[in-house]
Subunit: 237 residues, 2 copies
C-alpha cells in the first residue's frame, strides 16, 4: 500500500481520509461495512476498525450499531457547538441569531493573504454580520472568505445561520478545527453603534482561522464581542 513503513491501520486511515477529502464519500453517506473495506484493502476487519474508530474520535465519521458508518455532517448540534463557545454565566448553551450587515468582494490585504496562504492579489469576500444571544447584540463579526475556495459566495442572497453547513453542502468544505486567538481591546468608534456599546468600551476580540479537512486554513474571521452578559468558555483537556 506504500513503500515507506507505516502501520497498516495508519495506511488504511490515510486512504479513508483521502477519500473523504476528495469527496469520494460525502457528508451523510453510508460507508461500506468493516468487512467490505477490509476485503477491498486487503487487511483484516480489526485493522479497518481501528482506522474507522480513529476517524470517529476526530468527528469525521459517525458509527451507529446496526446501521453502519456514516460521514459526519455539520448540521448536527453537537458538531456546531464544538466551535461556538459562547455561554451564559450559568454555563448553558446558546443559539445565536444572525443578521448580515454587508458583503463585498475585494482584494485580500497582506494580513489576510498571509493568514490564509493566498497569493498577492487574491480575491476574497468580506462578510460583516451581527450575532445576538437571547436578543442581546453580542458579536460583530468580519468573515473573510477566499473566492478561490468559495466561488461566487458573494452572490448568495440568503446566508444560513451556520456558515460551516453552507461550506459543507455547497462547497464540499468540512471544517474540522479552528484556531482562536483572543485579546481585549477598546471598541473602535466606528463599530460602537453595531454593538450598542460606547466607544472605547472593552471588548473581547476573537480572531479565528478555520481549518478544512485537508489542513488548509479556508476562512479567517475577526469578531468584536461584548462580554457584558455572556462569556467565551473553553474546556482544556
Amino acid at each position: 500500500m506504500s513503500t515507506s513503513f507505516q502501520p497498516l491501520y495508519k495506511q488504511v486511515y490515510d486512504v479513508l481520509t483521502q477519500r473523504l477529502q476528495e469527496g469520494y464519500w460525502k457528508p451523510g453517506d453510508l460507508l461500506p461495512s468493516e468487512f467490505a473495506l477490509a476485503d477491498e484493502l486487503g487487511v483484516s476487519q480489526g485493522t479497518v476498525r481501528k482506522a474507522l474508530n480513529q476517524l470517529v474520535t476526530e468527528y469525521l465519521l459517525d458509527r451507529q450499531q446496526g446501521k453502519g458508518t456514516f460521514v459526519a455532517e455539520h448540521t448536527q448540534e453537537s458538531s456546531l457547538f464544538r466551535f461556538f463557545r459562547w455561554r451564559e454565566p450559568g454555563g448553558e448553551k446558546l443559539i445565536p441569531e444572525t443578521t448580515v450587515i454587508s458583503q463585498s468582494r475585494k482584494s485580500a490585504n497582506v494580513d489576510q493573504q498571509q493568514k490564509l496562504g493566498l497569493p498577492a492579489g487574491a480575491e476574497i469576500n468580506e462578510l460583516v454580520r451581527v450575532r445576538s444571544l437571547l436578543d442581546q447584540i453580542t458579536l460583530l463579526e468580519f468573515v473573510v472568505q477566499p473566492l478561490s475556495v468559495f466561488p461566487d459566495i458573494d452572490l448568495i442572497k440568503e446566508l444560513p445561520n451556520s456558515l460551516y453547513t453552507l461550506y459543507q453542502e455547497r462547497y464540499g468544505i468540512s471544517i474540522i478545527s479552528a484556531r482562536d486567538e483572543l485579546r481585549a481591546e477598546a471598541l473602535p468608534k466606528k463599530f460602537a453603534k453595531h454593538l450598542n456599546l460606547p466607544p472605547q468600551h472593552p471588548v473581547l476580540v476573537v480572531e479565528r482561522l478555520s481549518i478544512n479537512i485537508d489542513g488548509r486554513a479556508v476562512e479567517y474571521s475577526t469578531a468584536y464581542c461584548s462580554t457584558e452578559s455572556f462569556s467565551y468558555v473553553v474546556n482544556l483537556k
Copy 2:
C-alpha cells in the same frame, strides 16, 4: 466484576482510574505489564490494552515501547502547555516567570464557595502573583486554594513556577482539565500598577476552574491579562 452491565474494558478502565485516584499508583510509577494486569483482573490482554490506551488519550498514563506503562507526571513540558495558552503573535510557546505578591488565609466568599463546592465558612488560601512573558509583565493572577484540599499551603515559603506540579507532588492532586471563562473588562484602578497599564485599559479576564482526577473543582483562579504583546490561543477540535 460488577453486576450492572458495563463492557469489560470499561470495568477495567474504572478499576485503573480508581487506583490512580486513590494514589495506589502515583505519578511516575511503573504499572504492571498488560499480561500481569490481565491475569490479575481475569480478562484478556487485549481488553486491558484498550483500557490503558484510553487512559493514555486522557493524559493519565504514558506508555513507552520496551519500557512499560507509567503514571503521567505534570512535570513534563507537554503537560504544562496543555493548560498554559499564552502565545506570541507568531504562535510560539512561552514560558512564564512568576513573582508572588501576597498570600493570605481567609474565609471563602459566597462566589468562591459556590464555584469550588465548599461549605459556608470554609477556609481558603488566596495567592496573588504576577507572571511575565519575555520580561513583560502580562498576567495578574488571584489563585484560590481551599485549605481542605491543600492543607497548610499558606505556610509554604517557596512556591514553584508551576502550581500544578506542587499540587501533584505534595498533595496528590492531579489536574486533568480546566474550564476557562473569558471576558474583556476595564482594568480596575487598584490593579493598574501591577500590570504597567493605565487604569481602565482593556484587559482579558480569565476565570479558571481546575479539575482534579476525581472530577472535583479544586482550584479557582482569576487572571487580569494584558494582551498588548501576547494572546490567549486555543485550538478547537
